[in-house]
């Protein structure tokens, strides 16, 4: 009996090593592809190195030299973690290969992004990062069940996300949740939340937000391609925030110094997250002669909650501000009262004269799946092009998607 277990364990190990190698190769190749692009510039290497940390989480651990908090969605305020002396990060990756690690034990329909995340954990023996916690805002069902399915050894803190936020009840409940998070972190780290620290952290991130804002502006003006933008934002929080910000600023200066020519037809990419190294859709969009110049992906523009503005610098005031900024201002489709999400999309389209929306639906991503049907008629009635692309972490449908995208660009 033991013998068989040992056998199976060994087989498992071999499989993991195999997938590990392939995944690594996938990372490397994606990276080298990016480096061979003609609009590549050396400033990007920093960000590409960061992205590799999705595969080598220990490197991240070493770099930040703090307890790392793995958060799943964007509703938990980064500033708060930072003020508590821990480092928040999204360790999920978009790897095609790593999905295979755990897919056998998971629902077929499950969000592939989470499958990949889970696979990466398993690949690294789950708890390689010392003192790692999970913070899980309960957005969609997959996320809610994630810790259960991943049965991680790390302690997990759930944030009950009120799906109604236009009323007082929801806002109060969320504030309570944030206070709960504070207590959790205080308990885990054994230090108290200091007002000054929180204020400083807010300012630190404000500088990051300003930099990201400039990046967005650049891309809006079609001066920065969608893929590179994604590279920059995907690497967010894979390094101490201050250093990352500096590099973004350097990059901005570098790009603006030699004024590049505007790229081709820009379009708006909505829907499920896209994470390095899975840039399939972005590549196809470029192949079809278009480029993403705006998006609302939670791994891209939406990590930018806009500037955090507060008039009340007390600890409570700051917490309230952060709570609202990450809850009321969040345009994740998981919320029930979300017609303002459409507003924000229409705004961007109008202001930057974008004519087309490509709606990316990952298999099993119900919130976006549902929403795409609500959005389509609204957009078409306003005279915008709309293309819904449902896909998975597989390469085989690239040809089909490309055909659609080409036709789409022709409309």
């Amino acid at each position: 009996m033991d013998k068989e277990n040992k056998m199976s364990d060994q087989r498992r190990q071999r499989q993991l090593q195999k997938i590990g190698r392939e995944t690594q190769a996938e990372f490397e190749s994606t990276r080298s592809q990016l480096q061979q692009r003609k609009d590549y510039r050396p400033e990007w290497d920093y960000f590409l190195d960061l992205l590799m940390r999705l595969f080598y989480p220990d490197a991240l651990q070493v770099a930040v030299d703090k307890p790392v908090v793995e958060h799943l969605c964007n509703q938990a305020p980064f500033e708060l973690f930072h003020a508590m002396g821990v480092h928040p990060a999204r360790l999920g990756s978009g790897s095609f290969n790593v999905v295979r690690v755990s897919s056998s034990r998971l629902p077929v329909l499950m969000c592939p992004y989470l499958k990949a995340t889970m696979g990466m954990f398993e690949l690294h023996g789950g708890s390689r990062l010392d003192r790692l916690y999970h913070v899980v805002p309960t957005t969609c069902d997959w996320v809610v069940k994630f810790p259960e399915m991943a049965d991680t050894v790390q302690t997990t803190c759930f944030l009950e996300l009120p799906h109604l936020r236009e009323d007082e009840k929801g806002q109060k409940r969320w504030l309570e949740e944030i206070y709960g998070l504070v207590r959790f972190l205080e308990h885990q780290t054994g230090r108290k939340l200091k007002r000054k620290a929180l204020k400083a952290s807010v300012q630190t991130f404000m500088h990051a937000w300003e930099a990201v804002g400039r990046l967005i502006e650049l891309r809006r003006r079609r001066l920065l391609s969608g893929i590179w933008f994604m590279v920059a934002i995907n690497s967010f929080l894979l390094d101490p925030i201050e250093i990352w910000t500096e590099h973004v600023l350097k990059l901005l200066d570098a790009i603006q110094s030699d004024s590049p020519q505007p790229l081709h037809q820009g379009l708006f990419l909505a829907g499920s997250p896209i994470v390095f190294p899975n840039f399939k859709l972005l590549n196809l969009i470029e192949a079809a002669g278009m480029d993403v110049c705006a998006d609302d992906l939670c791994t891209s523009e939406r990590i930018w909650p806009g500037g955090v503005c507060y008039d009340n610098s007390s600890c409570h005031g700051l917490l309230k501000t952060l709570a609202e900024r990450y809850h009321r201002a969040c345009i994740c489709p998981t919320f029930a009262d979300n017609e303002r999400r459409f507003n924000s999309i229409f705004n961007t389209l109008e202001q930057h004269r974008i004519r087309g929306v490509v709606f990316h639906v990952l298999k099993g991503c119900h919130p976006f799946d549902i929403e795409s049907f609500g959005l389509e008629p609204k957009l078409k009635q306003k005279g915008y092009k709309f293309l819904r692309i449902e896909t998975d972490y597989v390469e085989e449908d690239s040809r089909n998607i490309l055909t659609r995208l080409e036709a789409f660009s022709g409309i």
């Binding site: 206070y179 007002r195 007390s314 600890c315 409570h316």
Partner: protein
């Protein structure tokens, strides 16, 4: 403005027990008006007696009796359409007899404005003008309440009024000084009048430090008077309210004396606009005449002297503390 009590408007003597005791002639009884019929009869009698009167000398002496003193009694005001204000004054005295309209000519009313108003400006902006001697005179009229005269003011003015009269050996001089708040849009500039005060009369001046604010006369504030006469004989100063003797004062050698009207509960109870009239009477005997000089003070209730600062501060502190504690301890989240 509003009159505080009607008695001050009534003529003195009427229905006054004291008067009957001192009266020698029952004519008073006879003269006491009971109805309009009596009044008419009295009229007829006087008209018949007219020639005799005419010959009997031009003073107040009626049946050999003179009033002890004469004072000015501020009566009602009436506002004109254009906002100008007319102030009515009664000429009152404490004679045992009822003065008769024919005496009107024996009274001389002079007045002048002490101040020119600048309505555009803040009260601070008033400037005080003491015009050269030179007065307006106002005709003395007769109403059913007796003798009266009026002064009309277009704008905000402080008016200083004199009533001069004599009776036998007695020489009367009554003062009053008070503000009249005219509101006429285009008030005419106050130019100095033509009439003059008769020479040689003693004067009772409010002051010597005459300030605009002291025109709003209040109880509980000291008022200094200056009595100027050429005689050095003893002077008796008495304070009268509705002819009741309230207090007596002594005049210092330099002819000044001060009077601090006590707080009046009745005034305090009633509103801020009510006032009472207190008469300051100075009597002195000169070489061959007796001088009775009065000054009528329009006294309001004290504006400030009832303010209790410390209790106020204590209350303020207490409430402040109480509310603070409630707020601080009924908190849901941390304050800092």
């Amino acid at each position: 403005m509003r009159r505080s009590s009607k008695q001050t408007c009534k003529l003195p003597g009427i229905g006054n027990r004291l008067v009957f005791k001192r009266s020698l002639i029952p004519i008073n009884e006879f003269f006491k008006p009971r109805s309009s019929f009596d009044v008419s009869i009295i009229w007829i009698v006087f008209i018949l007696l007219w020639p005799a009167m005419a010959t009997s000398g031009s003073d107040l002496e009626v049946g050999g009796l003179c009033p002890q003193y004469v004072w000015i009694d501020c009566a009602q005001q009436s506002r004109h359409k254009n906002g100008a204000l007319t102030q009515y004054y009664h000429i009152s005295h404490n004679a045992d007899i009822r003065p008769d309209c024919l005496d009107a000519r024996d009274y001389k009313v002079l007045y002048r404005f002490r101040i020119r108003s600048k309505p555009k400006k803040h009260p601070y902006g008033f400037d005080l003008v003491t015009p050269k001697e030179g007065y307006y005179s106002s005709p003395v009229l007769c109403g059913k309440d007796g003798l009266y005269f009026t002064i009309k003011s277009e704008g905000n003015n402080i008016v200083e009024v004199f009533v001069v009269a004599s009776c036998g050996r007695k020489q009367f001089l009554a003062h009053v000084i008070h503000p009249i708040f005219g509101k006429a849009p285009h008030e005419k500039p106050v130019q100095k009048g033509a009439a003059q005060l008769p020479q040689g009369l003693p004067r009772l001046r409010l002051g010597p430090k005459f300030s605009v604010r002291s025109m709003y006369m209040q109880t509980g504030r000291a008022y200094r008077f200056e009595y100027m006469s050429k005689y050095t004989t003893a002077k008796s100063v008495s304070i009268l309210e509705n002819q009741q003797h309230m207090a007596s004062l002594t005049v210092s050698d330099d002819g000044t004396f001060a009077y601090t009207p006590p707080h009046d509960p009745k005034l305090d109870r009633s509103g801020p606009y009510d006032y009472k009239q207190t008469v300051v009477l100075v009597e002195e005997t000169g070489a061959k005449r007796e001088y009775a000089t009065t000054h009528t003070l329009l006294l309001h209730r004290s504006y400030l002297s009832h303010n209790r600062l410390n209790p106020g501060l204590i209350l303020f502190g207490a409430v402040f503390l109480a509310v603070s504690l409630i707020v601080v301890f009924n908190r849901k989240y941390r304050w800092i």
